[in-house]
Assembly symmetry: D3
Homo-oligomer: 277 residues x 6
């Protein structure tokens, strides 16, 4: 549990229970505790579908949650935490919280990686210049990330709510947005450099993930998402190239029998196993 003991390429699991920048409903601050409850539940096990038993590996570490009492300084706290981990050459899998946390996380990553591919699963482009007059809204992180040139390119999957403003932003920032209506399972997922995955739970159809703030029907099945994650390849065929990830926007207040928390835990296991395999 002490950052100083991290080995190179280790993965740190951390929760950022923060939802001050949600536009419609609060709740994602409760997500990290619910995801962990399901992850460690006797109901299942810690094995991923690639055969790795996460319960028996020593290259990932659960650091718990970074508590949030002061919303104004929290972005800085997130950025500092991530930077600390990256400085040790380790990697981070973050649990939101709302999607606004991806911006401070990526600010840290940009300092270390200069050719990052950002793979973004979401029902929404989250490219609003501002939402409800908030430039750090959970609907705006990717506008900030692109303005600051924090990544080399942004690829979006699962999108099904583009409006004229967001369409403009997609063009402005040269985003590769693959709309849900155009998605095909033959999609090419071979990347040349390091990849960061930002996974908004509402990329999934509400049938599979009812526990989100914004139900947007017509999304991925859980199996489709697992297949995409499992298919990701990098040019040197090394998974170390997945250098970080976040799972955000689970809203336990809308969940049913913890079904969505379990789905988040399943995605977490697959992403983590992919990272450390």
């Amino acid at each position: 549990m002490t950052p100083s003991k991290l080995k190179k390429n280790d993965v740190v699991l951390v929760g950022f229970p923060f939802d001050y920048n949600s536009s419609y409903l609060r709740g994602p601050a409760l997500a990290p505790s619910h995801i962990r409850e399901r992850l460690y539940s006797d109901s299942g096990n810690l094995c991923a579908e690639n055969g790795i038993d996460l319960g028996k590996t020593n290259n990932w570490h659960d650091f718990g949650d970074i508590e949030c009492f002061n919303s104004k300084k929290y972005f800085q706290i997130i950025e500092n935490f991530i930077t600390d981990i990256l400085d040790q050459k380790a990697r981070v899998l973050s649990l939101g919280g709302d999607h606004s946390i991806t911006y401070p996380i990526l600010k840290s990553y940009a300092k270390k990686y200069d050719n990052l591919t950002l793979l973004h699963f979401d029902a929404h482009p989250d490219l609003y210049d501002k939402l409800d007059n908030n430039t750090f809204s959970h609907g705006s992180p990717f506008a900030r990330i692109m303005e600051d040139n924090l990544v080399n390119n942004l690829i979006q999957l699962g999108i099904r709510t583009i409006n004229p403003h967001q369409k403009k932003q997609i063009k402005r920032f040269n985003v590769q947005t693959i709309e849900m209506k155009d998605f095909s399972s033959n999609i090419n997922l071979n990347f040349n450099g390091p990849v960061y995955i930002s996974f908004d739970m509402d990329a999934l159809d509400p049938a599979f993930a009812p526990g989100v703030s914004h139900h947007e029907p017509g999304g991925f099945s859980t199996r489709q998402v697992l297949e995409i994650i499992q298919k990701i390849k990098t040019s040197d065929n090394s998974n170390i190239s997945i250098v970080g990830a976040d799972i955000v926007e689970l809203n336990p207040k809308n969940d049913i029998n913890s079904m969505t928390a379990m789905t988040a835990a399943k995605c977490l296991k697959e992403i983590l196993a992919k990272m450390i395999s």
Copy 2:
């Protein structure tokens, strides 16, 4: 809100909160208010997947609900309302209510269109000669429609509950029933003349639409339905050929966190955007 101001090909959105002809559970009378709550909610936006922002077009109009105090005269009230709109060369997207309302709606359409194709999404054929001794039951509208020759041909999608009586009716009325077990996404959806869409929410699998009176597992995913709607083409390639539609049988009393109402609103947006694009 005054019918007299309608322009040619405008679309009128109207609710018929009526469920006196339901055989098993009441509830669909609550549907129009729930669908509107989700349609206009800050949780989403009014953009359809073809890029049209329904919030910024002036060729559709929400006329609210036609209240129902006298069940016996309500079919006549529906028929009169629809006729008034069609007389102005406008079109109607109706929100049920139970499926029995499609019969009076089609009676009006038949007066204006003599070669209508009726595209019917449903888990059930709804071709009962009568149900619970009610010839106007929500299980019988298509028997009445076919007996009265109100449409040129009836195409059914999503069906998965055919019994011997309904099989006989399918043959008697020469219905093109594509059972769910035989459905393929390669289906041809090019039509020669005007098309009317009657969409029963239980065409969807209960996982995607739990808020219906009759759960019938094995149905469409929401994405499959959206693809079908988006693929509809008419011979002159003009969407004006979708001359009307209804979305029926949402039962908010069985819904979970308004998930099905949101799915109905999503289908509404796609059908409406297809009609006015």
Copy 3:
């Protein structure tokens, strides 16, 4: 209701309301009454998708539940009941209860059939040598079945939770485990001899079957399961070769509006219609 009146190849429907061997949550003992409530509900009908109206056939019989007061003797009671039916050359469709009941059922079948293929739908291999120190746990029946050589071969579908121990067991018993991540709808389902189907409801994705004790995301859709059942063929092309089946692990305490009980009833209808057609 008297076993003595059974005709050759008749199918007996029976419930085993037993969940003493569940490792995590109790509840499956409530399943048989909930499945029947949906099966006979006025909400649907008794027709299967192959056109057979189960309400109008006389070659299957609902024998109700075998009550369970003494957990220690219950396995023997199950075995005796099944043997009685098989001795009359009839077949059994059993409703669990937890998955532990499949072991005593198969003990009876093995006495009659020496070349049985066991087709097992499940999220989990259920091959634990023991679970929570219980060798008869609902996580262990297939270990017992394979140790006792009760079947000729075991084919598993839907699996998505293999851990190292279970992997070892799969190899030890030479099980044909088709993991969910490798499943393709082109799967060959032609069998040479008699087939027994053991259907754990959690083979389905929790979106389609929330009413189970162990949510494991990434499973089958209901339609995929129905397709598999409908595609099963035996070498002599005779359905009589499906000699028995069980549907287990429905947990009504986790169900939502009886949605999963309805899905179990739908699977029951398709399996039963396949058996008697």
Copy 4:
């Protein structure tokens, strides 16, 4: 479990899973299995508030459910079962099912007891001459009981839905109906002869018992009901004078997290402990 082994004054617990005579919603047939699930759950214990540990007494016996395949003969089956028990000088605590079962039960009791007091907890008087044209409806058992003079007097508690017809019946049959609006905790509950308790779960307020078919706000709290049961006294101060009881109209399909089933189990424990103490 064999009736022949019953001792004098033993109490038999039996379930009648029957709801064919429900007027509005089906579901009570599922009640006996749900009440038992809670009664025997590790969540609580089998001690009543008077200190008796029902898990350590041998003067009551759970006979399970009497299955119901033929609704027409079921009343006769109930009557015969009760008569068998009473003939052995034992007593019965029955679990419904809907309230219609109280009529055949009382027919048996009337053969043995000629001065029975019937203490009836309910939101509704259930004195309809007929309901939906059904004279054996769950809204009519007490009309039949009074017409047949099966009891000496009928006392009703919790009533809050009297309409003019039922008011007439109350007068006709000289029923002592204590309406909820007039209820006081000072009520006198000393009886001279044998007492039979018929407990409809909807006597409780829906806040305490949401799992009923007919929500009728303004009812008893659970504590009020427990106090009434605990205060019942008979002239010879002998509890043997509670000669029978039923708990009916739990509808698990409307229940929330088995809360109402637990309340039914609590009432069962208190009534049973009162009977055998």
Copy 5:
């Protein structure tokens, strides 16, 4: 249904499906349709506890809902509607919608009655000068009413959330606020002049009324509320002195199995029966 046919002292039931002024959650606009669904449901009957059968009286009339498309003009629409009814010497029982509607209603009443007592049931005083910068917020109607001197005196029951600002307002407007912690069932409810009842569903404890936007534990039981309503007396002992009422703030999106809608319908029946008896 035509206002011109109203007789003196008739009561008009009307719905105002409006929730634009809610501060926290939307939803109350759905309330009128849900309350009616329960009021007219076959699950209960239309008799009040004072013996009046509302189904057989001709001195009240359901006028349905006044649809709301333009939030800015809606207050004026409400005021005009109420004035029309009062001009015919009839009375109004309004169904909200959020609590903001009470202000325009009272503006109409003040024109006709100059010595009105306003009896207000609520968990909150709703006396905010403004809330979220909205002077017409659902937290502010009674501040506006008192500033405009629309009533002679304001009596508040059920209050349990007074903060310093509201305490100041209570003093400023000389409101008789009986806090829940000081409530006794011996309260004197004899009034000298006409009484208007404004009933916020959250006056009830969330156990009895979960379907509200703001859960505030520690409130009335349903029975306590019914007793208060039934005890109201006016000096001339004439119920005609209850000249109007509203039932507001039901939020069906938070409701459980329509339990709160049923409780609203029960209160409606008791208030209406009190008004017309």
Copy 6:
């Protein structure tokens, strides 16, 4: 947030998200985050019923949660944390977690207070010598506390599940157990020395607090609990004599729309306001 800045008699709010000692269901570890979500929600305010606005006082401090990675050392971590606070002459209001945490908390308190009265609200006596072979079970903390003589006397309220073993323990430890069936609102709550309150949410009836692991019907209403808290008096009439408290056993996994979390937050506000007033 730094313990060193605490003033004398300040109150520290802290969460112990721990449920390893639960016997039946896990879940209480999620409670602290859910209680805070409701406590700080815009849905209500921070005023207590005695007029104190907790949002505007500086004598209490939310220290967040003490994370729990190592269940074996966690009791020691709790004890150390509490001791640190008490050493600064401050007080603690702890949020569980399951009830097992009260033992290490009281071990710290006993070092500072030698004549403590422990006021314990619960449905269960929690005096098991051991449960499921665990002497630190959530069913055993008060057995440990009494064995170690950590308090001067133990008073129990709300109890309604005494079994013979617990009855023996009550006598052995001379506990003042006021069973729910004997509770009267006239109870004397004047104490001579310092008081510690241990509040198990299941002291409340499940209607008011469904979000607990063990539903035990027949408990307190929320208002009854608030009255008891508000009535507590100490001989010198100084509230400083409430020297500590805990609120435990909320299980968010069983909660409905966060209703129970809100009730816990309400109790928290009343206890806290009582402590600092």
